[in-house]
């Protein structure tokens, strides 16, 4: 039963704004579904489940070992994550809680392994490592290219080093913060991609059911089905958009290539996805009153088609090489 909110002095049906309780429920459902998806998939909100693993790698004299390779491997999943120590010999990982095997490698040192370190959520585990020196000929891993500048025992001249190429140690040193930013960006864009693909299903179904919702001989049930699918599309679409908008941006990165078209199309399907349900609701109300869809509400169909077309093209623009 529609609720009539009077706008003019006379509580006339024509001049009132019709608020459909069922529609309010649908909007709430879409919002709730979107919020649930975001909470489930956003890494920042999942951050509570992460813990920190850190430590210092030193040689037997206590001198920090710079650029040592540190690899953590999740004992349950087998997933390995590499990192390197800084000039201060410190390494740091932010990891999901679990048991991890830690391997320490550096040129000129024996490889060390810690078989199990238990990382718990919201806690910091410290695992320091002392690397024992070995004869230079036994080392197989090159951790610090600069170390190759040392003359060989045969007296042969040094191999070229990165410094010889004009590359300073500060350029070689990795930026863990930037890597973490890239990891977060990729995670969020993967979610964006998956949800975008999922959106195609309700979007397609909404388009199909539109054929039974807009004609003269349509039933309330077919309109409800169309509206429900539209609401579901809206919910997943908003979540998709959230992950793209919230994905961290990297300073100084210019947008090039097909991704430009993908982003440009968002300026069409984004407003379209806001406008379509508003126009749809107006058309729904008019049909429910037994009226022919008229006025601005008659733009619901064309706007929806342009929106769906722009969305489909946005997916295709990053999927295929044109």
């Amino acid at each position: 039963m529609p609720l009539i909110v009077s706008v003019g002095l006379k509580p006339k049906r024509e001049s009132g704004m019709v608020v459909d309780i069922a529609h309010v429920k649908r909007i709430c459902f879409a919002g709730l579904a979107g919020a649930c998806l975001i909470v489930m998939l956003d890494p920042s909100l999942m951050a509570q489940a992460l813990g920190e693993l850190t430590g210092t790698v030193t040689d037997p004299t206590g001198t920090p070992v710079a650029f040592a390779f540190v690899t953590t491997t999740n004992v349950e999943t087998g997933r390995a994550l590499p990192a390197a120590t800084g000039m201060d010999g410190i390494y740091k990982f932010t990891l999901p809680s679990g048991n991890y095997r830690i391997k320490f490698e550096s040129r000129g040192y024996e490889t060390q392994e810690i078989p199990a370190a238990n990382v718990a959520a919201l806690s910091t585990v410290v695992e320091n490592c002392v690397l024992e020196a070995v004869a230079q000929t036994q080392s197989s891993i090159t951790a610090d290219p600069a170390q190759k500048t040392a003359p060989s025992p045969s007296g042969k001249p040094a191999e070229p080093s990165l410094e010889d190429l004009g590359i300073s140690p500060s350029q070689v040193k990795g930026n863990a913060r930037e890597q973490a930013l890239l990891d977060r960006r990729s995670h969020m864009l993967k979610m964006h991609q998956r949800l975008g693909l999922i959106t195609i299903a309700p979007l397609g179904a909404t388009l199909i059911t539109s054929a039974f919702a807009g004609g003269r001989e349509t039933s309330r049930a077919s309109r409800d089905a169309h509206a429900a699918l539209g609401t579901a599309t809206e919910g997943v679409y908003l979540s998709t958009a959230y992950f793209a908008i919230r994905a961290p941006k990297l300073a100084g990165t210019k947008t090039r290539g097909p991704i430009r078209l993908h982003k440009t199309l968002a300026w069409i399907h984004g407003p379209g996805m806001i406008l379509t349900p508003i126009l749809g609701e107006m058309a729904f109300a008019q049909k429910s009153r037994g009226e022919r869809v008229h006025g601005i509400a008659s733009a619901h169909g064309p706007v929806a088609i342009v929106t769906a077309g722009a969305f489909g093209l946005a997916v295709a623009s990053v999927s295929f090489k044109f």
Partner: protein, 179 residues
């Protein structure tokens, strides 16, 4: 007749003499990785490699370094994704080391053992064939490094949930100049 023979001998020995230089500098380079995905294929190109070779006691040691960020596939989003999966922010350079006897450096085809450091891992490619041609004082080296993602413990990036192929051959085209 003797004069002609001497001139011929001198001309033939030029490439060998060129490799006998004590140092080599990478003048120009094009490194191209190739990626295959079920939906499309693309190449990432870098022209910013730096390299140096030091020859002594009949042996030449070469080092080539290229920033991971410098590879351009024509799409900024894809490049950032590749940078992320290859842990390019943490390990900003790909380095390739190789050594060869000076005597082996005069043939048109040379096979090299390459020690490649990439994404925090080191992998050695054995007996990789390269074509060598001499143009004046410059030596051009071309070939393909048969790189694979698992060699560097890199999870294949995915597009639309479909992963790329593990093989990412890297075409190499370098021009070296003696110093």
């Amino acid at each position: 007749m003797l004069r002609k023979l001497l001139i011929s001998f001198w001309l033939l020995s030029l490439p060998g003499l060129a490799w006998a230089a004590s140092q080599w500098v990478l003048e120009q380079s094009t490194l191209t990785y190739h990626v295959s995905h079920p939906l499309h294929q693309f190449d990432g190109v870098s022209h910013t490699a730096k390299g140096k070779g030091i020859c002594a006691d009949g042996e030449c040691n070469f080092l080539i370094a290229v920033p991971v960020k410098s590879f351009d596939s024509g799409d900024s989003n894809r490049d950032l994704h590749m940078l992320q999966v290859t842990r390019g922010a943490q390990f900003p350079f790909v380095t390739v080391r190789t050594r060869l006897p000076e005597s082996a450096a005069t043939s048109a085809t040379i096979t090299l053992d390459l020690e490649v450091q990439f994404a925090g891992q080191t992998f050695e490619y054995k007996q990789v064939p390269f074509q060598r041609s001499v143009q004046g004082s410059e030596t051009r080296i071309t070939g393909t490094i048969p790189a694979k993602l698992p060699d560097f413990k890199i999870d294949p990036p995915t597009l639309l949930t479909m992963p790329i192929k593990n093989e990412i051959p890297v075409r190499v085209d370098m021009t070296w100049h003696p110093r």
